[in-house]
């Protein structure tokens, strides 16, 4: 395990940094490709979404670089405030006048044309809190009582996001929570005791909301309602099928011609799959996999438990989201609204993810070759 690598000190893991910037750059290209037709028809400007994304990319880049100069220990004290801020922002969604509704869900808060999606921030707020909480007293992780605050924080974030409603981000936060508890070295028995109620809760939540049930049945047989619930999934599958192994070529997607809803955001992977084929998807996920691998490698290289938990938590959030999005796009799990991090159009997600990646890269710069914590998994 623990490995010292003095050569990376100072410059940090540049490959990781480049991979992240490359992904965000690819995101720019595909946001343009996926949205140009629709933007041209709707706004008379085929660069409409591209320009927005470019702004997010620039801000994200600045934040990423800025954060990487900051020793991550500084964030440690921000754990609880970050959680509280997240919860406040999530709660603000429900304040009339501030909350913005779209597609039957209230997921954004806005000031004029500027909107942010608090759930994107809350994911990382939760990671910061959990990392700080565990690092403060590693002994806490042994018993269920010690974990309880983490569970409570996770649940309150989940409940607020669920109320928007946004099932997929809820699932995402849940997965991050379980992942971090696992990484913290909790005993298998305790982990199991936490997992089972969560697994029971999922079907209950699905049945509680009629639209989720509909989406589930659409997932099981999308062709039963090709114009209704199954539409989105069918369109995504058409895009994938059209792409084949090598794809139809960059900018040549047919499905983006208003057939595929959310082509530039949640379903951007469909357009990538159509234009670059299975080969493109494979290469893209090799790149994402590379980022995840380097992320965990950096986490293991951190000199303290806090760094380890924080970095692996951020990496985990990125990995979980990427995988969930790919599972949705390929019709493996029921369709939910979840962006592909770094790639999908959506500035809150892009800026926050890039900032998070800045923290990870920063960690690779500031490590001092200390031996890793023995319970690291």
């Amino acid at each position: 395990m623990g490995r010292t690598n003095k050569t990376e000190e100072g410059r940090g893991d540049l490959l990781f940094l480049f991979a992240v910037i490359l992904l965000a750059g690819l995101g720019l290209v595909f946001v343009y490709s996926a949205s140009c037709y629709n933007a041209g028809v709707r706004y008379g400007d085929e660069f409409f979404f591209f320009k927005k994304q470019l702004i997010g990319f620039c801000i994200g880049l600045v934040c990423m670089v800025a954060v990487s100069f900051l020793p991550y220990e500084r964030l440690r004290k921000g754990g609880l405030p970050a959680l509280i801020l997240s919860l406040v922002l999530l709660a603000l969604v429900f304040v009339p006048g501030l909350g913005k509704s779209n597609y039957g869900a209230t997921r954004w808060i806005g000031f004029g044309s500027f909107t942010i999606q608090p759930s994107e921030i809350a994911k990382y707020g939760f990671v910061m809190f959990t990392a700080a909480y565990f690092a403060k007293d590693p002994g806490r992780m042994r018993g269920f009582k010690g974990i309880l605050p983490v569970l409570l924080a996770g649940l309150s974030v989940c409940v607020l996001i669920m109320l928007e409603p946004n099932m997929s981000v809820t699932m995402c936060v849940g997965a991050i929570m379980l992942g971090m508890i696992f990484l913290s070295g909790v005993s298998p028995k305790t982990l199991l005791a936490i997992c089972i109620p969560v697994l029971v809760l999922v079907p209950v939540l699905i049945i509680a909301e009629p639209y989720r049930l509909k989406r589930l049945s659409a997932y099981l047989d999308p062709w039963a309602s090709p114009r209704g619930e199954g539409y989105q999934l069918i369109q995504s599958l058409y895009a994938l099928g059209n792409g084949g192994f090598f794809g139809v070529g960059l900018f040549h997607s047919r499905q983006k011609l208003r057939f595929l809803p959310f082509a530039e955001s949640d379903f951007i992977l469909s357009v990538i799959a159509e234009e670059t084929g299975f080969l493109g998807v494979l290469l893209l996920f090799l790149l994402i996999g590379f980022v995840v691998w380097r992320g965990f490698r950096i986490a293991r290289g951190c000199r303290d438990l806090y760094g380890y938990m924080l970095v692996s938590g951020i990496t985990l959030a990125f990995a979980v989201q990427s995988v969930l999005n790919a599972l949705v796009v390929s019709g493996t799990i029921p369709p939910t609204g979840l962006p592909l991090p770094l790639i999908s159009a959506g500035n809150t997600s892009l800026i926050v993810t890039m900032t998070g990646m800045g923290v990870v890269y920063g960690a690779s710069r500031h490590k001092e070759g200390a031996s890793p914590h023995k319970i690291y998994r």
């Binding site: 037709y37 599958l237 058409y238 099928g241 057939f259 996999g289 691998w293 985990l316 599972l327 493996t332």
Partner: protein
């Protein structure tokens, strides 16, 4: 943790591989449908010609203009331009062009070439036109029940138009445009073009000249006799191809009374094929043929040619009395042979024949002459007539069938039976179509005469024909006589039945004639339904046959026969 994530990566990558590579074809096929909008390319409908190539049904080029509202960029300016071109109210057009709930809306039907040329040069997005020809019939009423007509969308519904619709219609093609979700054309849309395959042209056996001659003659008799209806069929007895088929009253194919369904159904019915009647004395041809043939075969129950029939006016069968139409007072119906019985059309003689031959033998001939079955003509809605089943027929029924009562046939059935009795004994399935040509004029298929049965021997046919020539020369058919052309035939006058009772004063006068008797080339069956005043077939129907035959002789410059 890394293991879990790696596993998930592999899981969905496998899924992507399955969808993108393995299910590719299937999904692509499904998706293709939503990526394109098709504009139909209508196939030109085949024309219908007479046997000499005279056009009887053709097309006038016309177009239908329609719009896909979703592809129209500016409804109000498009409506303004279109209003000038199409001559349709601007408000109406704008309303149609703004209705995005429908993917396709018809703006104007059956418009001329100038309109679409103007439309093409204006190049308004989202507005299209497609060929939508108007069917035209140069001779209007001529052979209207035979030709039939097409429905509003141009597919044949009745007559030859209906029966041969699959040949005439051809196959529509398609022009595919690539569009987005709501139907907006793509800028560099690749339009796939599947050309239409034009329908085949049909050449009938019908001769336009004989048809119009027969219609003229029958129109006259309809007027002078003030009959309810007049029908005629002219065949070539050597192969039963139909030369003319007349049903009067008729209607104009170019202005079909589509709004009066009862009238349309009645007027468009080809009653020569679809309706039945009691043939009366013309049926005696069949009875006589059966008797002659059985006699030649040596059947002792056949009455010999020189047999002298009883002069009594009545026959009592199964306790019912059957009378001759004549009162037998002037002595003409006394001591007759078969030839004389035909000349006089004496009913009791044919009762004797039917009863003497007996049920089994007589029914063998009814079957050979194809009664109670379809003739197999290439036309929809043929009636098979009404023939009592052999198992239940009584002697008194059999006796009446002998002179054409208690049996109902279609005019076509009778004409074909008569043709086979005198053409040497060959029963051919009648036919209306001679051949099919493709639009470039090359022959695709020629129909052949189909021999269904032998009815009688050539010898019988020759003897019978001689007797029928006598009928026209000396007997009831005199009014069909043409010096030097060996016209032969048989008259018929039948009382009509209504609700099972004889309808007083209602008759069907008929005559079936042909010439030349020794080698028949033209056979005509004339039927006048409910003539007023004189009602005998000999006086009402026979002259019509003569007029038609004279017309044919003129037309074809036929030489007189020697001897």
């Amino acid at each position: 943790m890394i293991l879990v994530i790696t596993f998930l990566f592999c899981l969905f990558l496998g899924r992507f591989f399955y969808i993108q590579v393995i299910r590719k074809e299937n999904l692509h096929y499904l998706a293709l449908d939503q990526w394109t909008r098709e504009i139909p390319v209508h196939a030109g409908r085949g024309s219908i010609y007479d046997v000499n190539g005279v056009l009887l049904a053709g097309n006038d080029a016309a177009y239908t203009v329609y719009a896909r509202a979703n592809a129209v960029e500016n409804a109000s300016s498009a409506a303004a331009t279109l209003s000038g071109i199409l001559g349709v109210q601007r408000e109406e057009l704008e309303k149609k062009l703004s209705d995005r709930s429908k993917s396709e809306i018809v703006l104007l039907r059956k418009t001329g070439k100038e309109t679409v040329e103007a439309l093409a040069s204006s190049s308004i997005r989202g507005v299209y036109y497609a060929r939508d020809d108007i069917r035209v019939y140069p001779y209007g009423q001529l052979a209207c029940q035979v030709l039939g007509f097409t429905s509003f969308d141009g597919s044949g519904t009745t007559g030859v138009e209906g029966y041969y619709n699959s040949f005439l219609a051809g196959e529509d093609g398609e022009l595919l445009y690539e569009t987005d979700l709501v139907g907006v054309d793509l800028d560099n849309s690749i339009a796939a073009y599947f050309p239409a395959q034009d329908g085949l042209n049909v050449r009938l056996t019908l001769d336009y000249r004989i048809q119009s001659l027969a219609e003229q003659v029958m129109g006259q008799v309809l007027e002078t006799s003030q009959a309810k209806a007049a029908r005629a069929v002219v065949l070539d007895p050597s192969d039963c191809s139909v030369l003319a088929m007349v049903n009067l009253p008729s209607y104009d194919l170019n202005s079909i009374p589509r709004n009066d369904l009862d009238a349309l159904n009645s007027l468009s019915r080809n009653r020569v094929i679809s309706d039945i009647y009691e043939p009366g004395s013309t049926f005696k041809i069949v009875t006589a043929a059966a008797n002659i043939e059985e006699g030649l075969k040596g059947n002792s129950r056949a009455l010999p040619l020189n047999h002298v029939y009883s002069s009594s006016r009545t026959r009592v069968v199964d306790g019912t009395t059957i009378k001759c139409w004549s009162d037998h007072n002037n002595g003409k119906h006394s001591n007759q042979t078969l030839a004389e019985a035909l000349n006089n059309s004496c009913n009791p003689c044919f009762v004797d024949i039917a009863l003497s031959l007996g049920r089994e033998t007589f029914y063998d001939y009814l079957e050979a002459f194809n009664f109670g079955r379809a003739t197999g003509i290439d036309f929809a809605g043929e009636s098979i007539g009404m023939l009592l089943p052999e198992s239940i027929v009584r002697d008194c029924d059999l006796a009446r069938i002998g002179f054409g009562q208690t049996i109902a046939v279609s005019p076509l059935q009778l004409a074909c039976a008569a043709a086979s009795a005198v053409n040497g004994g060959y029963y051919y399935a009648p036919r209306l179509v001679d051949s099919f040509f493709s639009s470039d004029g090359s022959l695709q298929k020629k129909t052949q005469a189909t021999l269904l049965h032998r009815t009688v021997s050539e010898e019988t046919s020759r003897i019978l024909s001689g007797m029928l020539e006598g009928v026209v020369r000396d007997g009831s058919g005199k009014k069909a006589y043409i010096e030097g052309y060996k016209v032969a035939g048989k008259t018929g006058t039948a009382q009509k039945y209504e609700n099972g009772h004889i309808a007083q004063g209602k008759y069907v006068s008929s005559f079936v004639g042909y010439f030349p008797a020794d080698e028949p080339k033209y056979l005509a069956l004339i039927i006048v339904d409910e003539p007023q005043g004189t009602y005998y077939g000999s006086t009402v129907a026979a002259p019509c046959a003569r007029e038609i035959f004279e017309g044919i002789i003129d037309m074809m410059h036929l030489p007189r026969s020697e001897g």
